[in-house]
């Protein structure tokens, strides 16, 4: 069967102040390593080179008469000189100008787009966008990217999902003056954002959600500083008035947006993700550069020893050329070790991203060690019932050990998303971190994590005849144990850091979290608790004293303290299991006896020392009855 899986992939690199400019070849090579995420429908690059020489430049795609284009442009711009940069069916022209004002770009674009005959797609003093129809290496060749250097690079390969793919207008990056954005997402608010921009004077759009993001960013920067702008777009603004008047500038739906921006003094690399981080984004840093990528592999191919971390959901990353890291996208960046091994059976470095299982199956032995695993996907999908003892060194790609029945797997490194989906037996031990959706619908077997886990760990975990366990030594992001109906999750970090919405929709099983967590983080609780209390007080369903007691508590803590008649009203908020119950307490004898051998085994396998924690208090979360 011949088929070509595809979709969106992105990469951005910002050099540090004292480092050398970044080679285009490095960028195009790295992007090309994830070409399976894109298609021949479009790729593009943007490079920024900070300078003080005030040379203004625009680039225009145009498929009409050259003289006519010059006529249109000269009405709005002071043209110094121009040349044809790319001679495709839709030509790319590059104009050097005296100066640029934002309104003229919009006006010219309105004229050019009337018959879909052209579009200014790059403008600024330090910015150059190069984009076209083709795979990353095709477009790199078209524009000679490999011989360029830049302070900041953005690169993108595209799978069109809601716009045409046969002309260059729709390729990324999208740009406004000294701003370039690349995007992997599908903005559900796109229509609302576009209406709001129209109200504010924008007239013509090539018609993608990605383009709209660049206009919003520019529009907001007219009024706000960079951080406020990012917060408005990401719906993180507290001030009610600011929230209100910018209500049409908020992005929704799954997205990872990467923005390059020159404010005249400094270059910024910005990464922004939606509130549950539905699209991949990996952050990285080494001695020379900062990185944002779709897959860890893109960064590790550039520098095997770069440190990488995942973005916290509902968060943002900012670094600048002059000031370095401004916001890391996580409270605390943790280092994960790079493991290596001398004795191995398979070197994965030359094996295709989806073919590692074939090599494993070729060896006629039960114990197998693989080194240089880097982004390999679906490892174990063909060996699900083969009883292997697998030792993997490196970083595994998505869908590791899905449907595993009896293999014992040790990963010395990080695992990406969707690890151990629908696993029904065996053991998977990960010495690094695991990505989002670890152990979905796990119904038997064990998963041990030495580091942290991402969003939605253990969702839909279930047990019928068997007892599955997930043990996490580190921290977790949002929706831990969502929809869980059986089995046990144990979190041992005990530092109070945790994601939100724990155990939302739980109808069975148990979650043990070492130490005390904020009860606000449990389940989905209504945000207007004070109104509820006022209404209950008004009807004398609670008295003044109780009202005062409850006023400062979280909704989940109020439930148990309400009289029965009042509960009749509040329980309408949790009858579909939106909120589980929780208690902060010592384990009882049955729980202790159950967990003791599990943690003992975890300690011995993962080289940790957690067993004594069982004598201390845990936050225990289970279905509300």
């Amino acid at each position: 069967m011949n088929y070509y899986p595809s979709s969106c992939g992105l990469l951005a690199i910002l050099r540090k102040n004292n480092s050398e400019k970044i080679h285009g070849k490095l960028v195009s090579n790295s992007l090309n390593s994830i070409r399976y995420r894109g298609s021949d429908k479009g790729s593009g690059y943007a490079t920024f080179n900070l300078n003080d020489n005030n040379s203004y430049k625009i680039k225009v795609f145009y498929n009409g008469n050259e003289e006519k284009l010059n006529k249109i442009l000269s009405k709005s711009f002071d043209i110094h000189n121009y040349y044809v940069e790319n001679n495709n069916s839709v030509k790319s022209y590059c104009y050097n100008l005296g100066t640029i004002d934002l309104n003229s770009i919009n006006t010219v674009n309105d004229v050019l787009w009337e018959n879909k005959s052209g579009r200014i797609y790059s403008s600024g003093t330090s910015l150059d966008v190069f984009k076209g129809v083709g795979y990353p290496d095709d477009v790199a060749d078209e524009y000679n990217i490999n011989n360029m250097r830049g302070d900041l690079w953005l690169a993108h390969t595209r799978q069109p999902t809601n716009s045409p793919g046969d002309e260059p207008y729709w390729s990324h990056p999208f740009s406004t003056f000294n701003v370039a954005i690349i995007h992997n997402g599908d903005i559900s608010s796109f229509g609302a954002n576009r209406e709001y921009l129209k109200n504010h004077g924008m007239k013509s759009f090539v018609g993608t959600d990605s383009e709209v993001i660049s206009y919003i960013f520019r529009e907001l920067l007219k009024k706000y500083d960079l951080i406020t702008t990012i917060k408005i777009m990401g719906n993180k603004i507290e001030d009610k008035y600011t929230k209100y008047i910018n209500r049409g500038y908020v992005l929704d739906g799954p997205y990872t947006v990467v923005i390059g921006y020159d404010d005249g003094n400094d270059l910024y690399l910005i990464g922004l993700t939606d509130k549950t981080k539905l699209r991949p984004i990996i952050l990285g840093e080494d001695q020379d550069n900062y990185y944002i990528a779709s897959e860890e592999k893109e960064i590790k191919l550039i520098n095997k020893n770069a440190r990488v971390w995942t973005m916290k959901p509902d968060s943002y990353f900012i670094a600048s050329l002059k000031n370095g890291l401004i916001n890391s996208g996580r409270e605390k960046i943790k280092y994960t070790e790079n493991y290596d091994i001398d004795n191995y059976d398979i070197d994965a470095s030359s094996i295709d991203y989806n073919k590692l299982d074939n090599e494993i199956l070729k060896l006629n032995q039960g114990d197998i060690t693989v080194k240089n695993v880097l982004g390999h996907k679906y490892i174990g999908i063909k060996t699900f019932n083969k009883n292997y003892n697998l030792n993997l060194y490196g970083n595994a790609g998505n869908c590791l050990m899905n449907l595993n029945e009896n293999n014992n797997v040790t990963l010395h490194g990080n695992a990406s998303d969707d690890c151990c989906d629908s696993m029904s037996g065996g053991k998977v031990k990960i010495f690094g971190n695991a990505g989002d959706v670890l152990g979905q619908a796990l119904n038997n077997g064990r998963i041990y994590i030495r580091g942290d886990v991402g969003n939605r760990c253990g969702i839909q975990m279930r047990s019928y005849d068997n007892k599955p366990y997930i043990v996490i030594n580190g921290e977790f992001d949002n929706y831990l144990g969502e929809y869980m109906s059986g089995g046990t999750i144990i979190v041992l970090s005990g530092n109070g850091h945790s994601g939100r919405y724990i155990g939302s929709g739980m109808i069975g099983g148990k979650i043990y979290i070492y130490g005390k967590i904020n009860s606000r983080a449990v389940g989905i609780q209504p945000g207007f608790k004070n109104n509820i209390l006022k209404a209950l007080l008004m009807e004398s369903l609670i008295d003044n004293e109780l009202y005062e007691t409850l006023r400062n508590k979280n909704f989940i803590d109020i439930i148990g303290l309400l009289p029965e008649e009042a509960k009749k009203y509040t329980e309408k908020f949790y009858n579909k299991h939106e909120i589980p119950s929780y208690s902060y307490r010592h384990l009882n004898k049955i729980e202790y006896d159950e967990l003791y051998p599990v943690i003992k085994d975890f300690d011995s396998e993962m080289k940790t020392n957690n067993i004594k924690k069982l004598n201390n208090k845990f936050t225990v979360i289970e279905r509300m009855i």
């Binding site: 899986p5 979709s7 539905l278 109104n531 579909k576």
Partner: protein, 689 residues
Amino acid sequence: MDNIVNNFINIPLQKEPDFWSFDKINHIRELTVTGNPYRIFVKNNNSLRILDNINFKTYNDNITLNTHGNTGSDLADMEMSVPLYLGDMSYGALSGNPNLAIAKSAEITKTMSGTGEGGLYRDIASYKRIFIQWASARFGVTAETLNAGSGIVIKIGQGAKPGIGGHLPANKVTDNISGARKIPGNIDAISPAPHHDIYSIEDLSQRIDALKLLTDKPVFVKVAATNYVPYIVTGIARSGADGVIIDGHGAGTGATPVVIRDNLGIPVELAVASSHNILVKENLRKNFKIIAGGRISNSTDAAKLYALGADFVSLGTSVLIAMGCVMVRKCNLGYCPAALTNKTDNKKLFEIDFGVNNIINFIKGFRIELENILDHLNLKNITELTGNKDLLIADNLSKNTLNVLGVDYENIKNTGYSLENFIPDKKYLNGLINKGEPPITSMGSNAPPDVIGPSRIVDFLRLDGAQVTRPSIDPYREDISLNTNLSGGKISLSLPVIFDVSDSSDKIKEGISWASLFMNTVVIDNKIKNKYKNITLRKNNNYYKYKNYIYTYDYSNKNASGYVIDDNNLLKIAGLNKNLKNRRENHDILLYVHEFRNTGDIAKYIALGADTVILPSKIFEYGISNMADLNEKALNFIIAIKKELSLLCGAMGISSMQNSLTGNVELLRSINLDNSISKILNLSEAGSE
């Protein structure tokens, strides 16, 4: 042996319009009893359904048993006697024996059946002509079951509930089901709305890649027909799938919230026509199958869908009818009179042989009807029919609809939309008020404009359901914000609904005001009661006053915090938005809904540009049966509306309603609405690229 069901029961009188009319049920029963053809080129002249307004240019209703046409084709490398897929009804939704009857019949008739998402009942795995589902809840998913059939279906969505997950009500989660799905018994089994491994086309292609490595079998992707269906289908084709199952609005289901079923999704005929077109254009149509489902009642419907671009049609409801279903729409409750969808521990048992014989006869009759149709169309093979739009002619459809279909036509519908009198749905309102929950129902929609006649512009509109390119958001168990800020941020509501209680009695006022306080929203009244002074906007003729907050019809008033538009003056909203320009950011638009059908209206008005809606308390009064417990009833009403809005937002992939839905016409599609109106409101037709 009283408890064995092996005979048809009488069809009850239908009191309300139902797509599955007596005639349609009767046609299926005729085939089932005789195994012979019954009627071809069936015309439904008064029907509002788009497919019924498309006919073959040829008309010849003669039927013979001596046919020449060949209905054979192939699917998943297997020979098919007729391009029928018996679609995706789960063990749990059906009671077990009907599942077995379907799998067995597919084997005998050389067709294909889909197992749905509930795991496999008894020895269904011994039948080869089955497609196994990879669905969001992973019920019954193991490497072994995935390998059991001839192919795999990744179920992203279904026509009866785009954007939300499977739902098996608690009373149907019996011990058997609990075991098959590995979940606790007697509690609702609600599958996650999205696949948490598939948030994008690239994730989908990864999952396809992985499933193919595991099974080496063809993989199909099932989606509900929604706004972006042509692009979604090309994405699916590019992602390596072997075909798509497009499930249209009106398709059946075992359980779905009314508000989702009736307001989301588009007709399959539009989705198939545009998907076929774009696949051909992008050179992706070869070796890629389109299976179309939703309201296929007879061979004529099927033939038209083939001609519009389908390779196969999926039959669900009509297979149930062949097995004795009489469309009482009680599947979600578990006491089916025909023993098809009853609880699995029910004493009433469906006889497998009865089901098998019926389906075999039904398919045989269906096939011979198709052969007759082929003969009259002068076609040798059914495969020549696929995408052969030249054989079709439409009449009395809107221009935009015709553009999507790409078929010849006689007259364009341009006589203005003919409206029926509006009647509120008392049963639905009563459900909200008594339970405080979104009403759950079963089987396909009869909503306007395709079955029940439309009475308002919003009856012609459907909302989007997120499919593949973005995930829907689980409305029950994830955080969806309906918070609405008005008046420069001075008023914050927990949902975009304000009640006008000025015309009601004190008792009603009190109930709604209390509930509004509880739910953190406000009311409009002509007097301000002290205890509700913080949540009351005062009404004074056409002026509503609240602190500095004035509503007025005078749009030039720059001091107004907002403007009110009446639903019967809906077209004004477009002009208002245009005229306000950048002043829009400082003003609210409130839409006064006099005619309220269901919560879908609220979402549609907001998508058309309103910040919030005003509902008169009369609507609440219409839905209550007595004056007892008004506080609780009013609270139920508001909380149920809130939950329904969460369902709608989640299904559309929206996590913040005011920010993302206001003025977002991308999330709306019109169904056969006059072009002049679509143009004013800036709406695209369902299925358009």
